[in-house]
């Protein structure tokens, strides 16, 4: 592996990946891959996660196409040098900021959106001009194979490599020296990645997870109620069966409103996912037995099983879990302390909806908070009194599609951000450049030091042109006098 990494570094040093033409050609290659291999992609996602091809398009292929379009449009601007404003007294000087690639970067992807979460960071790394190693998740083997076998036909193999494997391969990769590591996954492994990165002083972006709460206010208009509930259940069950870092994890609702909400949810689940979601594939599968059993344990827990008010059936052979609703499970149960990552939604009832703020704050900072409300004061409070990667009002998950919003966590939910220009930035170093000419100098810049020079320097330093003039004319004296010489 060291040889492979060295070869990639040599390729980077040759300067090839810095060229705009190279970056564009690679991005075009990705676009072609998505277009020409669409059928294979849908098949692989169906095989690994039971995703319907429309869901696969909406959540993975479509998102990537959108990102590619955005990058093509903006790349020239992003790569350009920006002038930094200097004050007038900085005579004959100029300063710029130049983005440059970090070098050789490692992208470690995950299994729930195996295409999107591999290629979205890859797009950013390429746009910024880096050489890249991508390690897809072995837990989504069909997608991993597809990437390993097909991507090389569309990309420059000297500069971009896909390396398959499990934890052992991951460990080996982490021992190498990278100029950046971009990791998507769990906080536990995030810590391991960052510790490994520390040995080489490698900067990291960690896209982790958490329990993203949805807060449903007591809405009065039926249109609002229906739209809210539809969006909540879609964000829970409709995107990878709740196995998404930005899925709605649990729902907070006022006691008085809870029965309305629950009834509406039951109706909407049937309406949206149909009577047989397993057959219609409107709800994806659980990734593997390990996670299936994990979910089973969460639901069969003594403390919890009595709170199941809808769904609850699980089929181990097909790794299918029915859309399930829980009402007020104990707050200290595992299902309320661990990230659920499955199609089960606990509803917690509160006396007042404003109590949701304290509830959220007493727990680790999530990747996203979803608040469904028309109350402007409550919205303001939610923004200023809670902390999360992002806040979305009256919808969920869609922030992922916004190219102009930074996507990332805080605290346990992650470090750093990406999407749109933030992807370009996260894989770049902004080098500052100050330019001066050699005509002349302020004579008072050099020793031997005197009080007079000190006064002049102070004015120059504060860009105080007028003050300098006063000192030179002998009209201004410094308040302090040091015993210099």
């Amino acid at each position: 592996m060291e040889k492979e990494v060295m070869a990639l570094r040599e390729c980077y040093r040759s300067g090839k990946t810095k060229q705009m033409s190279w970056r564009r050609s690679q991005l075009r290659g990705l676009r072609d891959f998505l277009k020409e291999k669409e059928v294979e992609i849908f098949r692989a996602l169906n095989q690994d996660l039971g995703k319907h091809y429309v869901e696969a398009f909406r959540d993975e292929v479509g998102i990537l196409n959108k990102s590619l379009n955005f990058v093509f449009k903006e790349l020239k601007t992003w790569m350009s040098t920006t002038e930094a404003k200097l004050p007038i007294i900085a005579l004959n000087s100029s300063a710029q900021l130049v983005p440059e690639p970090l070098g050789l970067v490692l992208v470690i992807s995950t299994w729930n959106f195996p295409l999107a979460l591999s290629l979205e960071p890859l797009i950013g790394a390429i746009a910024a001009g880096n050489a890249v190693v991508l390690k897809p998740s072995e837990l989504a083997p069909a997608c991993s194979s597809l990437l390993v076998n097909s991507l090389p036909n569309y990309l420059d193999n000297e500069a971009i490599k896909v390396i398959e494997g499990g934890p052992a391969v991951g460990e080996q990769l982490l021992q190498q020296k990278w100029d950046k590591i971009f990791f998507t996954g769990s906080p536990r492994v995030g810590r391991i990645v960052m510790s490994a990165a520390a040995k080489h002083l490698t900067p990291v972006t960690l896209e982790l997870g958490g329990k993203c709460p949805a807060v449903l206010d007591s809405l009065s208009r039926s249109w609002d109620k229906e739209a809210s509930v539809k969006r909540i259940i879609w964000a829970k069950y409709g995107s990878c069966a709740g196995q998404a870092c930005i899925s709605v994890d649990y729902l907070l609702v006022e006691k008085a409103f809870s029965s309305t909400a629950v009834e509406l949810m039951k109706v909407m689940i049937k309406k949206v996912f149909g009577d047989n979601p397993k057959e219609s594939q409107s709800v994806a599968r659980i990734i593997n037995k390990h996670h299936f059993l994990r979910l089973k344990n969460l639901l069969t827990d003594e403390m919890v099983k009595d709170s199941i008010i809808y769904g609850g059936s699980m089929d181990e052979d097909s790794l299918f879990v029915e859309p399930t609703i829980l009402l007020d499970p104990p707050l200290h149960s595992k299902i309320m302390t661990e990230e659920i990552f499955g199609p089960v939604i606990p509803i917690i009832t509160l006396d007042k909806i404003e109590d949701s703020i304290d509830f959220i704050n007493s727990r680790p900072k999530p990747l996203a908070i979803y608040a469904f409300t028309n109350n402007e004061v409550f919205k303001e409070r939610m923004i200023s009194e809670t902390s999360s990667g992002s806040v979305v009002f009256n919808d969920a998950i869609v922030q992922f599609a916004a190219d102009t919003l930074p996507f990332g966590g805080i605290g346990e939910s992650g470090i750093g951000k990406y999407h749109g220009k933030f992807s370009f930035d996260t894989f770049s170093h902004y080098k500052s450049i100050a330019r001066r000419n050699l005509y002349t100098d302020f004579w008072f810049r050099f020793p031997p030091w005197t009080n007079y020079k000190l006064e002049l320097l102070e004015t120059a330093f504060n860009y105080d042109y007028f003050g300098m003039l006063l000192v030179l004319l002998g009209l201004k004296r410094s308040r302090k006098r040091f015993h210099i010489n």
Partner: protein, 493 residues
Amino acid sequence: MIMASEVEEKVVFDTESAKEVVKELRANFVAGKTKSYEWRMSQLIAMLKMMEENEPQIVAALRDDLSKPELESSIYEIAMLKKSCGMALKELKHWMMPEKAKTSLTTFPSSAAIVSEPLGVVLVISAWNYPFLLSLDPVVGAIAAGNAIVLKPSEIAPATASLLAKLVVDYLDSSCIKVVEGAVPETSALLEQKWDKILYTGNGRVARIVMAAAAKHLTPVVLELGGKSPVIVDSGINLKVATRRIISGKWGCNNGQACISPDYIITTKDYASKLVDSFKCDLERFYGKNPLESRDLSRIVNSNHFARLSKLLDEDKVSGKIVHGGERDKTNLKIAPTILLDVPRDSLIMNEEIFGPLLPIILVDKVEDSFDVINSSGMKPLAAYLFTNNNKLKEKFVETVSAGGLVVNDTTVHLAEPSLPFGGVGDSGMGAYHGKFSFDTFSHKKAVLYRSFACDAFIRYPPYTRGKLRLLQAFFGGSMLGIIRAVLGWFKA
């Protein structure tokens, strides 16, 4: 204020003490004490007052710790910090405002903003060479961003550390900003705690320890480190001006003990003697015939570093290359400005950051060969400097040399420009600060998306059909025409 040790009563600052400090600060942060614009402004104003009323004491402490010339203390430490505070005071309202973000078709109808919020409780670990500035400049950023702060100044500059501890208590809000003095044990105790951010200034070895400790809590870090900042000197330039600027950046900055001091020079064999003569001439003008006695040069900070630097000079392959200076005064920890000519690339002095008043000159045949010399080490420095009038050379320099920051025809000045981010890359560090970058580095940029209940895009929900797929494809394709066609196609079907 907590001090690491007293004479009679040894107050030990251990893990428990560190935990208590963080607990108190977190409670005060959660209570919202540091969030308001008023609090932040009050602290920045207090800091300015602190400097105005204590300048002689600060200068005296810096003289104690480093024999730092008064002018360097006044300008490079105090004036720089005043400038930082001043800028934050002027711009804070603007910095605190949410930034509107454009939204596109994919989230239509919606509006969005990026909101800056404080990270929480942050730790600033400072260094000994600019002990006043490098302690408080990050604190300015942390305050501006609304955080609670623990500052751990370097024990290698003890007079300044004590003074800081006293001044922070006297002028700032101690319930939210604390100074913890001490050395390795106290720092380790602090590093075991969970912080929302750590900003560390220092060397690569300790930086790895800091980052590893941060990894346990998923704490983001800014590491301001160093490296060997090279100076390329071309021929055909105004040599007098260039020499003075190099001297100013090297010996005029804490006698070479600065992270962005010119570390070594690269010039052509033909030009070297002219360059050396020019140095000799100006060094004497600035520091006199007996530089060991000049009050305009900092001393070496302590005997450890003095021994380290002596070792660099005494190495066999290098000791014969001294063409100027080399005088040492062990008792007073002074080393004269020393220039070495044509040192071997595998010598000790060329393989570690010098951080002292020794300036080796590396010779190349053509000035263009300098870039290979710089890039061959594989380590990216914090700064790189080029003196030339040749525009093509300037372009190549910007293109090929990767460093935190570059300066053409001067040294170190980019540090003073707040519109430029100050930080390293690779071995010279990660993250940046100064000016607004300080505010940003201590903030969390939260994305806020406002969606309306109107217009629920039915295409995103099951039941899934081919028709929906076509519409989604058009939708993500982004072209209005494509969308219209798909919609028409939908109606036809």
